[in-house]
Symmetry: C2
Subunit: 230 residues, 2 copies
């Protein structure tokens, strides 16, 4: 039994949910509001971040990159040609580079600030840092997004998928972060046709379905969010 401590808008949690879907692994989701700094959660992951994956009787696995490595080591081979981490050295380097690009750099520059300002701050008390979103932070993140979208478009035009011929963790990570901010209507899809076409392909995978069908009360997604042919 897998338990995933997550938040619906945490891009790293979305990445692991997509990966679990690709592996065909069922999981029980437990919402974690990291800004509440729950002690039991901090004991599982002292860094205080989502996601954390628990397997019965085993120590917790904290963090998207660490969970992704674990899943590949435990379940990668049985995916055969659909393996999300390539077997070649050069392939692994490129997938890890792009996983980190999206989970670290894109998160710091784009998805982290947007999700924090537009979603998390709604739930935070004033002491936790809640309040009105900062238009300055949002403007900077949206500006950063434009060059990231161009980079995704460049990769998608150069290759079939972001890290090469086949879908890998790189595509799932990129799509996970984009999906969280696409729900908020923040992605200027018309700016890059190749990035949009690549996203439509990833979004059409069955592993994406549960994410698209999840709605936050009081915060409706734009019409194109669930549309597979937007």
């Amino acid at each position: 039994m897998i338990t995933l401590f997550h938040h619906a808008f945490c891009p790293h949690s979305r990445f692991i949910r997509l990966a679990l879907g690709e592996y065909g692994l069922e999981s029980e989701l437990v919402e974690e509001r990291i800004w509440e700094r729950d002690e039991a959660f901090l004991a599982m992951n002292p860094a205080g971040t989502t996601p954390v994956m628990m397997l019965d009787g085993q120590p917790p696995i904290p963090g998207a990159a660490i969970i992704a490595e674990y899943l590949d080591e435990a379940h990668g081979q049985r995916l055969g040609e659909r393996r999300l981490m390539p077997a070649t050295s050069a392939g692994r380097i490129e997938v890890r580079r792009l996983m980190s690009w999206f989970n670290d750099k894109f998160y710091d520059e784009v998805s982290g600030p947007l999700v924090t300002e537009r979603v998390y701050k709604r739930f935070m008390t004033a002491e936790q840092g809640g309040g009105a979103p900062s238009t300055e932070v949002m403007r900077a993140a949206r500006s950063n997004l434009r060059y990231h979208l161009a980079y995704i478009g460049w990769l998608a035009r150069t290759r079939n998928f972001l890290a090469g011929d086949r879908p890998t963790y790189a595509d799932l990570a990129a799509a996970a972060h984009l999906s969280a901010i696409d729900y908020l209507g923040d992605v200027p899809w018309t700016e890059d046709d190749a990035a949009k076409a690549w996203y439509v392909r990833i979004k059409s995978r069955p592993s994406f379905r549960p994410l698209l069908n999840e709605w936050l009360p009081g915060l409706p997604a734009p019409a194109h969010y669930i549309d597979l042919d937007f």
Copy 2:
């Protein structure tokens, strides 16, 4: 032939230099000043960060965590009992968790701000962000360091090395980040005897020697920096 694009004060570069020393791998060091945003370097690593490792005729390997995974995959088994990444699933999770703790969290909260303010800004032009160090940033980083040092001390009292019985990447990452700021005299060693005793053990390893013997012109290290019994 290995070429490592690094900076003497980049904690992530120091981590990889320690790892290469443990593997007994020679490398040629090329100094990279990331704030100059050299185009040839950005082509190797679009994220613009050090270190980047080059092997003859192979694509560049960017980023400390990715290089560490590569080195384990290519050379880990021949280290036998001295392997820096454990073979067990639980061991790998804990080493990766602590590698990320130091390379990401400790860097963001402590070593990154201190090295940037106290070293990199000396070399930057005003346009690049250079100038006098921010006392506010340094005060925050030094405050964060105290709880990190207590965490290292707690790990060192609980276990023989940070991630378990044997030295791993976790120890090298922690010691690399600490060594960069120890050169600056910023580590309050008297606050935690267990952390200090653990650091002396890691610092005594032959892989540490080249780092300790390297001095930045115009910025002398404190006397205890190279002392193995400080």
